[in-house]
Structures are given as structure tokens and as C-alpha cells.
């Protein structure tokens, strides 16, 4: 993606706004491994990491393909470790399944920056920087709950279009359920798509068929949301509103335009990849974060999941992917 997407469009932190950290340090090799980019969010992760690395003159970026499953990722990580980079940023398919390899790297003296999906073992990473999947569900749940309460809907029909059934999706759904429960609401029907627009369309069309009247829908992923919106349009339905997930440019634009059922989206921002690379560089160079008092980069960073609505959409333009 690097060849076409200009660096400006990726969510990198422009070099030069916190002087101390951007000053060139010793040359470091940063290894990077993330699942194969097969949809927008993951594509943005790859693009952001690469672009952020390119913004530093003292960073050599070594990306290995994370493949399409944990096994492939373990194997390619193994070869990466054998090449002894200074630090490795890993977004595992599943933290638990790649834990052993990460541990091995740490033991071999290569620090691991754990991106997004956490390793169960605290010793397996130097830094965890992740989004908040549970929190994302909570944000969506609260938004929907509040809207419906305000409208005074007594027994709302709430649909959910989840992503691929992997642990992070389960976490999101649990957060969603918990937040709705505080309003006394439940999810009436839940379908899992595959983070792709065609699967989103497919599942949404069936969900709409199952629920002749709906009050609200949460769709976990804005990329698959393209298909979900298409299905809604094809079914000629508009009696409900929808909340998206992740925060893509298209979704933010649609929210701003306010001409679809999409009224909000809860973020799960791939900008974390840029931050991970920045922090990895500092760790490798043995430096701390300029704005913090500590001499070292902290051990864990969890991004907050924000809710983008028509009101605040313009401030998120930069972060949409």
C-alpha cells in the first residue's frame, strides 16, 4: 500500500512536534509482523507502521508477512528473530498462540512491542499498546442505549453484525452486551460477518429479513459496513439507526453527511501501529517519552475507544483510515 497511499494520508505523527523524541538517535532495526492485510483496518495497520518508520531516518524497517494464521506467523517470526533485529513489533493473530515465540525473542534479548492483541504472558513483551475491544463494545452500547432511552423506546429491537468470530470480536460483543444491559436492553439478533464488505452485505440482508422492525444496529467494522449499508439500502429500510466500528474515512464522511442510517461509529484506531513503531524506536534507542517524567517508555498503553458522531466528526478527519 505504501506505493500509492501518500504518507500524508496515513495516520503518522509528523516528525518535529515533540522535538526531543524526534532527534535522530542510534540506527535501529525494527522488525514488524502482523496478519496479512486483507481488509481496511489491517491494511491501515501495515501502512501506518511502514509510513511511521519511513519518517525516521534512523530506523530500518523489516516487515515479514504474518500470514493468514498463527502458525504461519510463528514460523515467519522465527526467521525474523534469527535475523536479530533490535526490536520487534508484533500484532499477533492471537496473542495466546504466538506467546511462546514472543517469549523466546524476549529471552534472546530482542524486546517485543505487542500491538493490539495481548500476549497472556507478561514476560512475552516489553510494551503492550492496544485498542480496547471491550471498551469499543461499551461505547457502542452506551450510544445506542442512550439514544433509545432518549427516544423513549420501551422494548427496542437491537441487531448486531459482528466480525469474524475471533476472541477480539467476542470481547467487543461482551462489552456491547454489558453496556446495553445497564439500560435494560438486549441484543435481539446477532450475525457474524468476516470483516469484508460482501460478507457484511450478506449477513445484514439476512438480519434485516429476520427482524422486520429494528430500532438500532451495531456493526463492528466500518469496512464490512459498506456492505451492511448496501444491504440496508437494497432492503429499503430506514426505521432504525446504526453505529459503526473502527472509524474509517468513509464512515466518518457518511456520519457527517447524515444521509444514511449510520449515525455514529466507535473507534478502534489503527493509528496505534504508528505509535507502536515510534515507541519501539525509543525503546531500542534506550530513550524515554518526551512528555513523561520517566526515563523509559511505559509498559502498557491502551487506546480509548471514542465515539464519533455528526457533532465531532470533523475533528476525526485526520484519523479516519
Amino acid at each position: 500500500t505504501s506505493n500509492e497511499t501518500p504518507a500524508a494520508s496515513t495516520q503518522t505523527k509528523a516528525a518535529g512536534n515533540s522535538e526531543g523524541n524526534n532527534a535522530p538517535g542510534k540506527k535501529v532495526v525494527i522488525g514488524f509482523s502482523a496478519p496479512a492485510a486483507d481488509h481496511g483496518w489491517m491494511g491501515a495497520i501495515h501502512a501506518n507502521a511502514k509510513a511511521q518508520a519511513a519518517a525516521y531516518s534512523d530506523v530500518e524497517f523489516k516487515e515479514v508477512d504474518g500470514g493468514s494464521n498463527s502458525e504461519a506467523q510463528r514460523s515467519t517470526l522465527g526467521t525474523l528473530i534469527a535475523q536479530k533485529p533490535d526490536i520487534i513489533v508484533v500484532l499477533p493473530h492471537d496473542g495466546k498462540e504466538v506467546n511462546a515465540v514472543a517469549l523466546q525473542a524476549m529471552q534472546a534479548g530482542i524486546p517485543i512491542v505487542n500491538l493490539d492483541r495481548a500476549f497472556p504472558d507478561a514476560l512475552a513483551s516489553r510494551l503492550v499498546i492496544k485498542g480496547d475491544n471491550y471498551g469499543m463494545g461499551v461505547s457502542a452500547g452506551h450510544y445506542i442505549g442512550k439514544m433509545l432511552k432518549d427516544k423513549g423506546v420501551a422494548n427496542p429491537v437491537i441487531g448486531e453484525i459482528a466480525g469474524l468470530e475471533i476472541p477480539l470480536t467476542v470481547e467487543r460483543s461482551e462489552g456491547f452486551k454489558a453496556a446495553l444491559a445497564t439500560y435494560g436492553f438486549t441484543v435481539k439478533n446477532r450475525r457474524s460477518a468476516e470483516f469484508t464488505s460482501d460478507s457484511g452485505q450478506r449477513e445484514a440482508s439476512q438480519l434485516l429479513q429476520a427482524l422486520p422492525k429494528i430500532d438500532a444496529i451495531w456493526n463492528h467494522d466500518d469496512d464490512q459496513g459498506i456492505g451492511v449499508l448496501a444491504a440496508i439500502k437494497q432492503a429499503n429500510r430506514s426505521e432504525f439507526f446504526m453505529v459503526g466500528g473502527a472509524g474509517s474515512k468513509l464512515a466518518i464522511d457518511a456520519i457527517k453527511a447524515d444521509n444514511t442510517v449510520l449515525k455514529a461509529t466507535v473507534t478502534y484506531n489503527p493509528s496505534m501501529a504508528s505509535s507502536a513503531v515510534s515507541l519501539a524506536r525509543l525503546i531500542a534507542q534506550g530513550r524515554g517519552l518526551g512528555d513523561l517524567t520517566e526515563l523509559q517508555v511505559p509498559k502498557e498503553v491502551t487506546l480509548a475507544s471514542e465515539t464519533i458522531t455528526k457533532e465531532n466528526a470533523s475533528s476525526y478527519d485526520k484519523l479516519g483510515f
Partner: protein
Amino acid sequence: MSDATPTPTATPERPQLPAQSPPVDPAETAVAGNKAGSGGKLSWWRGDGGDGAKRNLGLIGVLAALIVVGAITKPDLYGDPNWVWNNVLAILQLASVVGVVTVGMTFVIIGGGIDLSVGAIVALAGVWCTTVATQSYGAGGMIFAALAVGICVGLVNGVLISYGRLVPFIATLAMLVAARGLAASISNKQTQVSSSTFINDIAARKVIGIPILVYILGAVVLAGWVVLNRTTFGRRTIAVGGNPEAARLAGINVRRHTMLLYALSGLCCGIAAIMLTSQATSAQAAMANLYELDAIAAAIIGGTLLSGGRGTIVGSLLGVIIFATITNLFAINGLSIEAQNMVKGGIIVAAVLVQQFQFKSVTRLLARNRVTTAT
């Protein structure tokens, strides 16, 4: 059978000159009459796959059973005829894209091959036709691009298999991998939104209350049926798949035909790509994921022999519709994905068993009937 009467053909005076004498002589008409009589004799394999017809009856039984289950579990929804009609349309729409792919797949399998790359071809064609460059040519350009990509990739498959002598499984698996890779690289791993209203309307519009997608499915199925059952191309397909050596020795160009079968499958994928792009109003490299499995499964459930030489388009269509109905049933009942999967496995097994049971008992019944008539 028991024609004790000495057949007149044995005498040398009688002209058995098949080459030049197709005249209708009395003996001939006698035979024809005899044949008409044998129609009443209940030869159940008569006609274009009467065998297949029985099987399809079984499938329709399975379909009916699924609908009954739906009606029992959701009486409120099934009570509303309007909803039921909409649901039928929803099922058909859900089946439409895979259905088109399955028609091509059925040809390939009957012809003794297999095409694992269909999903990848749909994705590549979809991505190709939604690039900014292609979209600038408008809907016509997009449709042309999708079909051309489908046919070309299919042809490559065909050439590798028929002239490169690669095993179809391996050749199309390689194509699967390569085409998805190419699609990812073209799309930059992004979801490409289609801005052509013409394309997007294909999935959104209805004509006389029926979605255009369903018409497309119908047209492809009809064309597939005609080609398979009424044209020399179809006959060659069956011959090539049933016994390639016999087909070759009968003067059929087996290699060229095999190549064309994959091109046909590619063409179907191209059509499917347009339909799917229209449904999702977008395309991406990961779209049409595992369609190969869906299409093969539908064809086989529909009675197509995986080893080639036998299959029906109608069976394949029913197979696709059954799978779509199962999905729909789950959605309506709001089953969790894991329960859904467990039940689905059971339903598939049950469906095949029901279908086989139907089939066998009918046969036996007929056989018994026949014996009674004979004695």
C-alpha cells in the same frame, strides 16, 4: 425381452445398410411403436436424467422440510404472506451469486475437473472492475472488465490443465493463491467502493417485484441447462468427464474442450463478480471467500458426480438454494454461530440421507411395480 418370435433381421436378404438407408420401413415403425409401449414400461432412467429428476425431487423434499422447520420455529413471521414472499426473494438473492458460480462449477466437475479458483476469480474480477481507472469507463467498462478478467483467468486455468497437463486441483489452487495475491496488490488491500449507480442498482432494483439479481441467476441457470442438455457442447462435456479416452477416440478434442470448460467457469465468475460488487457496492481482495467450497458442495449435493460425467444444473441450483435456505433459517432464528455450525453439519447429513432415502424407495417401488406388470 422375451421376443421368442424369430427376428426377421437375421436373413441375409434384409438390407441392414444403416449408412444409406434411414427410410422408415414397417419394421422401423414397429420398433418405434414398441418403444412407445416401453414408455409405459416404466424405464425410470428415461429422458434427460430422469435419474437426476428423482434426485431433484428428493432435494425439493429437503427444501420443503427446511421451510416447515422455519414455519414451526417462527410462526409469527411465516404467518405473514408478504414476509414469506420477501423471504423467498431474500433467499434467492442470497443464492444468486453463488448460484451463478455453481453453474460454471457444475460444468467443470461434469467435465471431470474441479475449479478451486472461483472465489479468487470473483475477487480479482470484482477488484479489477472497481479500480478508479476502470470505473472511469462507466458501467459498460466495468462489466466488460469483469467478464474479460473472468474469461482470461479461466482460460489460463484451462491451458495449464489441458495443455500443461497439470492436475486441476493443483492448477486451480495455484490460481486461487495467485489471483487473490494479484487482487490484493491491485486494490492495495483496500475496499474499493463502486460509484456506478448502474452497477449498484443491479442489486437494489426489482422488476415486477423480483430483484434483478434473481433474473440474472435465472438466466444463467436456464442458459446452463440448455447448453448442458441441448447442445453439442454439453454432450461433449459429459463425454469428456465420463470417459476422456472414449471421448478422444470418438474424435472429440478433449483438450480444447477442457480448456473451454474452465473459461466458461471463469465467465460465470465474471458475472458473479458484477453481481457481488453490486450487492456490496464495493469489492476487495478477500471477497467471495471460500465460494469454491460452497459451489462444489452445492453441485455435489445436487447430484453432480465429483469424478465427472454426471450432473444436472437444476440439481446444482437446488443445492445452492438449500444452503441459502439453511443460512436464512439460522438468521431468522438468531442462532449463535457455533450452534449454527453444529446444526448445519447435521442438516447437511440429514439432507443427503433424506434425499437418498427418497430416491431408493422410489426406485424400489417402481421396480416392484415393473415386476408385477411383467409377470
